[in-house]
């Protein structure tokens, strides 16, 4: 390995004087190197394809992905199991070689480069901490490999561990840590190298819900502080919506839609996105004609729909409304989901906050005739797969 990966780094401290600045202070005040073109994306994927196997068993895990990840952005790859998210991440990191297409990091084509020649670091789903090394040695590994001096290595390692609030556990082995602590060691081990890009493959997947929510907030805060580009993989749509600057929704090795959380949630481009991000509440064909008075496929989010018993007075005149029968009632604590079979033929889910009602009250709705109504502004036209615009 030459010195190239080191000079490629945008952290000026690596070459400049290194007063004992704390990692956090240092990372917060770190500015992109002047020669890095700000308009140039941190990652640029063009026509990326990956095929596993040959002959009839071949799988196109990634089937043509074009993607620009902006510098400093938090981008989430969201999609169902087997949609190719991990494979895209492994292609960027260099663990897999692309079948076709190119990968650029900061404007440099790295498609054929080995992982250790790419200025990215990965937080693995199983954390991949070295079991035979202490926490400190794990975190310091990248610096040791890159021949950073002993004194600087020790101080940067300690600062990175302090940064994830594990400064006191440096002597432990990974096996002696809890899941959440391991996750933070993996994060510190990647961040201490100050890469241009951090890749995270479902880093919170193994944590329980409480810890998961806490780590979501922490991870987002750290990303904002260090200003590193994060590419984050998850199949949890809520996680994607809360953390991301932009979301790329994957299906079958392709990007179905790329946009902000609000874009993919409120303006899903395809029925798949409407269904995967949130509940698909689709009206199409005859049902759309009858309820909405127009053709095409339309989506209305469950929380935008209000539900009244059919015998109650009708709502404001400009509201859209439809009648039907409650088929299913799901009590979820703070709210209740009602699945309603419309007289017009489709079925819609309505989410109602349990402001006045309790679980026994809502159960009484099962089988009752109800009226749904919503503001027409919340109807979003969803393109059919055949006519969907290709995402960029």
């Amino acid at each position: 390995m030459g010195t190239e990966p080191v000079t490629m780094r945008w952290d000026p401290q690596l070459s400049g004087p290194r007063a004992g600045r704390r990692l956090y202070g240092a990372l917060v005040s770190t500015q992109p190197q002047p020669d890095v073109d700000a308009a140039r994306p941190a990652i640029r994927l063009r026509g990326l394809r990956k095929r596993f196997g040959t002959g009839p068993q071949a799988v196109d895990a990634v089937a043509g992905v074009d993607l620009d990840v902006r510098d400093g952005e938090f981008l989430t790859l969201l999609g169902p199991s087997g949609s190719g998210k991990t494979t895209v991440l492994r292609l960027i990191a260099g663990f897999e070689l692309a079948t076709a297409g190119t990968i650029e990091l900061g404007g440099v084509d790295v498609t054929r480069r080995a992982p250790f020649e790419r200025d990215v670091n990965t937080v693995f789903q199983d954390y991949a901490l070295f079991p035979h090394m202490s926490v400190t040695d794990n975190v310091g590994y990248g610096l040791r490999v890159r021949k950073v001096g002993r004194a600087e290595r020790a101080s940067r390692t300690q600062e990175a561990l302090d940064g994830v609030r594990l400064g006191h556990l440096g002597d432990r082995r990974p096996a002696q840590l809890s899941g959440g602590q391991r996750q933070r060691v993996a994060l510190a081990r990647a961040l201490v190298n100050r890469p241009r890009v951090l890749l995270l493959d479902e880093p919170l997947g193994a944590l329980d819900l409480k810890l998961r929510e806490q780590m979501q907030v922490e991870l987002k805060a750290i990303q904002r502080q260090v200003g590193i580009t994060f590419v984050f993989v998850t199949h949890d749509q809520e996680e994607a919506l809360t953390m991301s600057d932009r979301i790329a929704v994957f299906d079958g090795g392709r990007i179905e839609q790329l946009g902000s959380a609000a874009d993919v949630y409120e303006r899903p481009a395809t029925p798949f996105v409407a269904g995967f991000v949130g509940t698909s509440n689709l009206l199409s064909g005859a049902a759309a004609e009858q309820v909405l008075g127009r053709s095409g496929t339309w989506s209305v989010r469950p929380e935008k729909i209000r539900l009244d018993l059919d015998d109650e007075p009708a709502a404001e005149a400009h509201d859209r409304s439809a009648t039907g029968v409650v088929r299913e009632v799901v009590y979820v604590g703070s709210a209740t989901r009602f699945v309603v079979d419309l007289d017009a033929g489709a079925s819609l889910v309505a989410l109602q906050q349990n402001v006045q009602t309790s679980s026994s009250d809502v159960d009484a709705y099962r089988g009752r005739r109800v009226r749904l109504h919503w503001d027409p502004r919340h109807e979003v036209q969803v393109a059919d797969p055949a006519t969907a615009p290709t995402a960029h």
């Binding site: 250790f116 990965t122 991949a128 070295f130």
Partner: protein
Amino acid sequence: MTALPPAGTSVAPGVPAGRRLSAWLSGRPRVRLAALLAPPAIWLTLVYLAALLALLTTAFFSVDEFTNAVTRTLTLSNVRDVVSDPAYLRASARTVGVAAAVTALCTVIAIPMAFFMAKVAPARSRGLLVALVLTPLWASYLVKVYAWQAMVQPGSGVIAWVLRPLGVDGPGYGLMAVVLTLTYLWLPYMVLPVYAGLERLPDSLVDASADLGAGPWRTFRNVVLPLAYPSIVAGSVFTFSLSLGDYITVQIVGGKAQLLANIVFANYAANLPFAAAIAIIPVLITVAYLAVVRRTGALDNL
């Protein structure tokens, strides 16, 4: 109507005897443990330890000069002879040297082989590769040693024939031939534990090391080797102790070389107590080796 079961048993009538026995045992862990351990414990004490004990005591007997019969009076003379004669010390050193060389060669050959099998070859072909490594074990030991005799034969041997264009002579009979033959014989005993150890090593650790900037060699040294180390030591227990005890290979391809095991073989007919005294040396060496190995924690992997 079925009759009520007699008081004090919870087992329903009509339950097969085997099930009833296991139900009875499940409440009595000590009985269960004793029943489980008794057969191997009896085997171990009677067959294994008794033989070792017989070896130890025989070493302190002597032999009648005229009839060659073993006299059962305790004497230290055999042990004294073995310890005081530098020839036996040299033979011990030579034997340990051969065993160490065989172990080192096996390690060097086995690591890349096992790495290929566990990490490079497609998962489908792993079973086949393991079978291929095992196939030589199905052939008779003697046949394999005679095959190696043909390989190393001075002048007309396969190795000599291959090396002739280079103007080099083959190894001929001697210690070198012994080391080569034993390496061939014991290699599977090193490949299998190392393969099992590498198979257990998650791929993501190798990826993580490369991700953090380490080239292949550093990854091997810092991650693969330390984690495979216990399995290498486990394999070395086999290659080392098997080499210490081998005498047929030495006789067939060893030329004039004398190792402990064939000194034992040469003496046992004429002077069994003396042969026993020599045979204790490899036992002691093996015990010492195991004691060292135990401290590395590698025995947990056997």
